[in-house]
């Protein structure tokens, strides 16, 4: 191992690296380790009780009503993940392809598609809450305006539509991100490769599936992994649009809301339980870390150097 010498350069690097390292240690590494530790104790409010081993984990996973709440929230996260995979990443890929091939108005749409991404989730949440308003929301007004009165409904107020309403709002908000990443990936494909494909086929479908898609694999890895992490950490949008309880009747409850409610309490539950909350946080963390690494490794393997 090379000996670390405190030369001018070494000192310089240390000075630059130390503050962010300290910051990460204090605000990221320490809370994670702390949460791990909290999960093994019984808590009375903010007062730490005795060591209980895996009891907290056992309770959130197997003891009712926690077990069905956990299952309910987890199922919703999975739905959100797959729905956004199609609506956000899938649509993003198609939008990127359209922008890349320079369809009419590409210049305008490149900005239009990305614009919502820079908006804060708070703004998007309230905006879409207004859009979905049963009486004066534009969504229902448009439906009534074109004579589809029977389709107008309280989108956020009924269990059958609430989660999907949130998913669509989220897709609208963030579709620009995968679009941008895919577009960047497509722009790295040499034009002559696309020309070569055009000499052999006129089918856009063949070009997309056999040439473009395999060649933007690195972009796909990025957006897939980020979407996975995002979908299982989903919190702000449901919090703003559906509230801490995942209303109506828990039909929009997701792990983020459930964890927050359990750890910090809310008006309806009233109580707070740091032990159960930490156990949930640890489980979510382990699940995301494990699956995300598997996805990354698997997707990396199919990437090709252009």
């Amino acid at each position: 191992m090379a000996k670390l010498r405190m030369t001018g350069r070494g000192l310089w690097i240390t000075t630059l690296v130390a503050p962010p390292l300290a910051f990460v240690a204090l605000f990221i590494v320490y809370p994670i380790i702390a949460a791990f530790a909290y999960a093994f104790f019984d808590w009375q409010g903010l007062l730490r009780g005795e060591f209980v081993g895996f009891a907290n984990f056992h309770q959130v996973l197997f003891v009712e009503p926690y077990a069905s709440w956990t299952r309910n929230a987890f199922t919703h996260n999975i739905i959100v993940f797959f729905a956004l995979m199609v609506l956000q990443n899938g649509l993003g890929f198609l939008l990127a392809y359209g922008l890349w091939r320079g369809l009419p108005g590409a210049r305008f749409h490149r900005i239009a598609v990305f614009m919502p991404v820079v908006l804060s989730t708070i703004i998007v949440g309230y905006l879409w809450k207004l859009f979905y308003h049963p009486l004066f929301g534009p969504v229902n007004q448009v439906l009534r305006g074109i004579g589809l009165d029977q389709l107008a409904q309280p989108w956020l107020g009924q269990s059958s539509t609430a989660l999907w309403a949130l998913i669509i709002a989220n897709a609208w908000h963030l579709v620009g991100f995968p679009t941008l990443v895919f577009l960047a990936g497509m722009q790295r494909i040499p034009t002559e490769i696309l020309d070569a494909a055009r000499m052999e086929t006129e089918s856009e479908w063949v070009k997309i599936t056999q040439i473009v898609w395999p060649l933007v694999a690195p972009s796909a890895t990025i957006v897939f992994v980020l979407l996975f992490v995002g979908a299982f950490n989903w919190f702000e949008l449901p919090y703003i649009m559906a509230g801490l309880d995942g209303s109506p009747f828990g039909s929009t409850d997701v792990l983020g809301l459930y964890f927050y409610r359990t750890a910090f309490g809310n008006v309806s539950a009233g109580t707070q339980d740091f032990g159960l909350g930490s156990a949930l946080a640890v489980l979510i963390f382990i699940f995301i870390a494990a699956v995300a690494s598997v996805i990354t490794v698997r997707l990396r393997a199919r990437e090709i150097q252009v």
Partner: protein, 355 residues
């Protein structure tokens, strides 16, 4: 059968016109080379024939059928790109099979064509390799193989040798010539390298500023260039071109000597532009009455040949082929005669050849 007819082909990108009305007939099984300096429109013309860019105006027929609106993949034309443009995520076999399958050929036929192409191009040991595991020359052969497998009527090659090193270049050049003999398709080849053009072409199309300067066999272009552009472009070292005045029977450079040549075309009382290739200059005795004065700038020794670069009295730099044993120091005064049969005459006004 593949007969291409280009009628008044024009191409503009936005407001910039890059091709100003190209008329050209290409015969079946012909090897035609488009040659010209960068930006002359030769690659653009090739892309129009391929269908990769739309033709702004004019008509392109293949075997009498209008091709302007036909998709590139339906023209029966294959193209070999300068960067080879192999699909990086497919191995050599898949690269060649991709287009063949899309033509709707059945599996045995695809396999038969690939093994035929692989044999012809010595690609058999490479079929399972990815493009990034191949050398430049191997990639080049795969790119040609990919075109061969489709059995097109016309092959387009866009500067296919420009990414290869010099040794490989002459090797692949011979390879391409052999392929053309074997498969006998019509080939259109774009290059800025006149050696490639001269050695490969049945006919050369010399282009400049989006216009055709001359079309002809390598011999025609070399021996009877139609204008000063072609004269200067074809042949290395370049043909010397300089203005001479008529002084009775003599052609003279003011204060720079004069020569008497046979069969000088009539150009009125005005002067004309004289073109002389390096091997048509004669080194004369400095005491001679005849010949142009020149001063040696430098000598290029090439082993079996040597070229002396010298400056005439009017400042033109000319190349003169000499015996490699001769040695000329810079600033030596020499006297250059011109062989009558090697003299070319061009108009001073428009650079056109004078009969």
């Amino acid at each position: 059968m593949a007969r291409l007819t280009l009628r008044n082909i024009k191409k503009s990108f936005k407001s910039t016109q890059v091709l100003h009305g190209i008329d050209l007939d290409i015969h079946d099984r012909e090897f035609v080379v488009f040659v010209g300096p960068s930006g002359c429109g030769k690659s653009t013309l090739l892309r129009l024939i391929a269908g990769l860019d739309p033709i702004t105006d004019g008509e392109f027929d293949l075997n009498g059928e209008r091709m302007n609106e036909v998709a590139p993949s339906r023209r029966g034309i294959a193209m070999v790109f300068q960067s080879y443009a192999l699909y990086p995520h497919m191995d050599v076999y898949e690269n060649m099979a991709f287009g063949a399958r899309l033509m709707g050929l059945d599996k045995p036929e695809v396999e038969r064509r690939i093994s035929e192409a692989a044999r012809m191009l010595q690609l058999e040991p490479l079929l399972k390799r990815r493009p990034r595991e191949l050398s430049g020359g191997q990639r080049q052969r795969v790119a040609i193989g990919r075109a061969l497998v489709r059995k097109p009527q016309v092959f387009l090659l866009d500067e296919p040798l420009s990414n290869l090193d010099a040794a490989l270049r002459s090797e692949v050049r011979l390879e391409i010539a052999r392929l053309h003999r074997e498969i006998g398709g019509t080939m259109i080849y774009v290059t800025h390298d006149q050696v490639e053009a001269m050695t490969l072409a049945d006919r050369i199309v010399v282009m400049n500023h989006g216009r055709i300067e001359q079309v002809g066999s390598p011999r025609e272009l070399y021996e009877t260039p139609a204008n000063t552009f072609v004269a200067g472009f074809i042949g290395a070292p370049r043909m010397a071109l300089f203005e001479v005045k008529r002084e009775g029977a003599r052609l003279a450079i003011p204060d720079g000597g004069s020569v008497v040549l046979e069969r000088v075309p009539d150009s009125g009382t005005k002067g004309l532009r004289l073109g002389v290739r390096p091997d048509a200059f004669r080194l004369l005795d400095t005491s001679s009455e005849d010949g142009f004065d020149a001063s040696v700038v430098y000598t290029e020794y090439l082993g079996d040949d040597a070229y002396v670069y010298a400056r005439l009295a009017d400042g033109t730099l000319v190349a003169v082929r000499t015996h490699p044993a001769d040695n000329y120091q810079p600033d030596t005064k020499i006297r250059l005669g011109v062989a009558s049969e090697g003299a070319h005459y061009f108009s001073l006004e428009n650079g056109e050849r004078l009969a």
